[in-house]
C-alpha cells in the first residue's frame, strides 16, 4: 500500500494556557430576567383566574347565612361553620326527599362503579381482539363503532328510552349502567385498540408459539403491560360518568337520581331562601370524586397518554 497511513496517535497537543479570558462553564441565570417575569406573571394570572371561583366557593360554604348577606363574597369567614356541609350532605331537600346529597352520592357510586368496570372490561377485550386477532370483518366492525362515536346523543335519547322500557329496566340503575357502558364503548375501544396495536407483533406471535390462547394472551401478556392505558380509561370513565347529568335525568327516577341531578335540584330549588353556603358545599362535595381521581393518578395519566412503544 502506498504511504497513505495517517498517524492518529500523533504528538501530544501543546498545553493550553491556564486561564483564558471570557465565559466559562454554565451560563449564568438571572432570577428576575424579563423573560422570567413575563412567564411567571402569566402563569400566576391564569392560576388566579381558575382558583378564584374555587376560593369563593370554599369560603362561602364555611360562612353562616347572616355573614353571606353582608355581601362581600371575597372576605374570609369571620366565624367558620361546617353547618352548611352537614346540611348539604344529610338534610338538604332535593325535590321530594330531604336527606341531602348522601342518597345521590351512593346512587352515583352504584352507577359509576359497575359502569366503569363493565365498559372498560368489554372495551379492552374489543380493542385487543381488533388489534391482535385480525378476524374477518374486523375493519367493518371497527368503522361502525367509530361512526357510533360521532352520532349526537340527542338523536338517541328517546329511542333508548323505548328500548329500556321494552327491556323492563327503564328508570332503574341497571338501565343507566347499561347506557353508560354502551356510550363509553366507541372511544374506549379506540383507545385500547391503538394501545394494543403498538405492542410489538412479535410478542404476540411468541405467545402463540408458547401455546397461549385468546384469553391466555390477554390476561397474561397484554393486561400486565397495559396498566397505564387502563388508568387513563378509568379516569376518563369515572369523571365522565360521575359528572353525567343528561343520562341520569333522562333514564332514572327520583329515587335513584345520581348526585349531579340531586345537586341541581338543591341549587335550583324554587321555594324558600337561597342558601348559598349549602349550595356551595353541595357543589364541592359533588366535585370531590373527580378531583381526587385526578390528584391520585395524574402522573399515571400523563404516562398513559404518552405511552407509545412498549419496551420488551
Amino acid at each position: 500500500m502506498a504511504s497513505t497511513a495517517i498517524d492518529y496517535a500523533g504528538a501530544p497537543a501543546e498545553p493550553l494556557p491556564q486561564e483564558l479570558a471570557g465565559p466559562r462553564g454554565a451560563r449564568p441565570r438571572r432570577l428576575l430576567s424579563r423573560r422570567n417575569i413575563f412567564l411567571y406573571g402569566t402563569l400566576t394570572v391564569v392560576a388566579i383566574y381558575y382558583l378564584l371561583p374555587l376560593y369563593v366557593m370554599v369560603v362561602t360554604s364555611l360562612k353562616g347565612m347572616p355573614e353571606i348577606r353582608v355581601g362581600n363574597i371575597f372576605a374570609p369567614p369571620l366565624e367558620i361553620t361546617f353547618e352548611p356541609w352537614v346540611k348539604a350532605w344529610s338534610s338538604a331537600c332535593t325535590g321530594l326527599n330531604c336527606d341531602g346529597l348522601s342518597r345521590g352520592f351512593w346512587n352515583s357510586v352504584r352507577i359509576t362503579v359497575p359502569s366503569v368496570i363493565l365498559s372498560i372490561a368489554i372495551a379492552s377485550i374489543n380493542g385487543y381482539a381488533l388489534a391482535n386477532w385480525r378476524f374477518k370483518g374486523a375493519n367493518t366492525f371497527f368503522t361502525i363503532l367509530i361512526v357510533g362515536a360521532f352520532i349526537p346523543y340527542q338523536v338517541m335519547l328517546y329511542p333508548i328510552v323505548i328500548i329500556l322500557r321494552e327491556m323492563g329496566i327503564y328508570g332503574t340503575l341497571t338501565g343507566l349502567v347499561l347506557v353508560h357502558t354502551v356510550f363509553g364503548m366507541p372511544i374506549l375501544t379506540l383507545l385500547f385498540r391503538n394501545y394494543f396495536a403498538s405492542v410489538p407483533e412479535e410478542l404476540f406471535k411468541a405467545a402463540r408459539v408458547d401455546g397461549a390462547g385468546f384469553w391466555g394472551i390477554y390476561f397474561k401478556i397484554m393486561l400486565p403491560m397495559s396498566l397505564p392505558i387502563f388508568v387513563v380509561a378509568i379516569i376518563l370513565q369515572v369523571t365522565g360518568i360521575w359528572n353525567d347529568f343528561l343520562f341520569g335525568v333522562v333514564y332514572t327516577k327520583p329515587d335513584v337520581y345520581p348526585m349531579t341531578v340531586q345537586l341541581n335540584n338543591i341549587v335550583n330549588a324554587t321555594q324558600g331562601v337561597k342558601e348559598y353556603n349549602v349550595n356551595m358545599a353541595a357543589t364541592i362535595i359533588t366535585g370531590l370524586v373527580p378531583l381526587i381521581v385526578y390528584f391520585a393518578s395524574g402522573k399515571l395519566f400523563v404516562r398513559g397518554i404518552a405511552a407509545g412503544a412498549v419496551k420488551g
Binding site: 500500500m1 411468541a206 408459539v209 401455546g211 391466555g216
Partner: protein, 362 residues
Amino acid sequence: MGAVSVRNLCLNFGEVEVLKNLNLDIEEGEFLVLLGSSGCGKSTLLNCIAGLLDITDGQIFIKGRNVTWEQPKDRGIGMVFQSYALYPQMTVEGNLAFGLKNARVPKDEIARRVARAAEILHIEPLLKRKPAQLSGGQRQRVAIGRALVRDVDVFLFDEPLSNLDAKLRAELRVEIKRLHQQLENTTMIYVTHDQIEAMTLADRIAIMRSGAIQQLADPATIYNKPVNKYVAGFIGSPSINFIDGQLEIGSDPVFRAGETKISLARYQFSGNGPKPGAVTFGIRPEHIFIEKAASDQPFQAEVDVEVIEPMGADTLVWSRFNGSELRFRVDGQHPVKKGDRVMVGFDPARASVFDAQTEMRL
C-alpha cells in the same frame, strides 16, 4: 420425507402474491439458512411453517405429520424473533417457563428444563431479572432459551442476531452453531440477510427472491456454482465481477469481450453443453491474482487501478476491463496506488458463465 416439508406453498396478502408455489424439504438435524434480500418473503415463509399465518394453498409437514391446519403450539416448533419479543413483565425464569405452564407441564419438570436451558445458554445468574434489565445479547439468549425449554424438534430463527453489534453477533453465531451440534437431530431453519452468517452456519442455504427459492444447495456450491446471475451477484462480498460478451464455439468454447478472448476449455458447462450467443462472464474478486501469482494463471490481462479501498487485511482494487468494472483483492501489505498498471490473472475454470437472456448458468 424430511423433518420439515413444504409442498406447493402459496401465500397471498390480499392481491399480493408473496409466496409462489414454494417447495422445500429439510432433513432431520439439518441447519438450513434462508437467505435473501429484504422483502423477499423469508419471514413470511417462516411464519407459515410456524403456523402464525394462514396459508392460501399448499401443505406443510413436520416430522411426517401434516400440520397445515395445526396451531403453532401443536407443531413441535420453537421460534426466536429478531426483536427478542420477551414478555416484559415476567422475569427471565417466567419467560422460559411460560410455554411449559401453558402446556401444563409438572412443576418439577419445568424447573428441571429451565435449569438445563439456563446452563446451556449461560444465563443462570439472570433468571430473576426482568428483560429490561438485560443487555441485547442476554435478551437474545433468553429468547433462544424460550425455544430450547420446549424440547422441540424444529427451531425457527428469524434474523435473531441482526439487532446486535458486530462483535456480539460473531459470538452468538458460534454459540448457535455449537447449540446445533449439541442438540442432536434438531432441525434449524434460520432466516438472515447476512451472508457470513449464512455461509458459516448452514448445512444448506436456500436463496430466495420475490417469494421463490432460486437455489438450494450447500454453501460451497452456492458460492462456486451459482445457478443464475442473481445468486452469483447476491453471494460474495465484494460482489462478483460481470463481464458482458459472446460465447463462441470453435475447437474449444471461447468467451469473447471486445478484442479479448478467454478460453473456456476447462470450464464445466452444465446440462447440454455450450451454445453460442450473448453471455455474461462472472469472476469473483478473490479469484483474481496479480503480478507473480497472475503469471501462473491460465488467463492474464493488464488493467489500470482506478480506486483503492484499504480494509486492513487486504485492499480492494477497482479497475476496468473491456469497459466493465473489475474488482479484485490484493494483500493489505502489497503496495498499489491509483494509476498503477497491474497484471491480473485468473482461471476461467473457476468462473461462472450465464446466458445473457435467461441469466441461467451455462
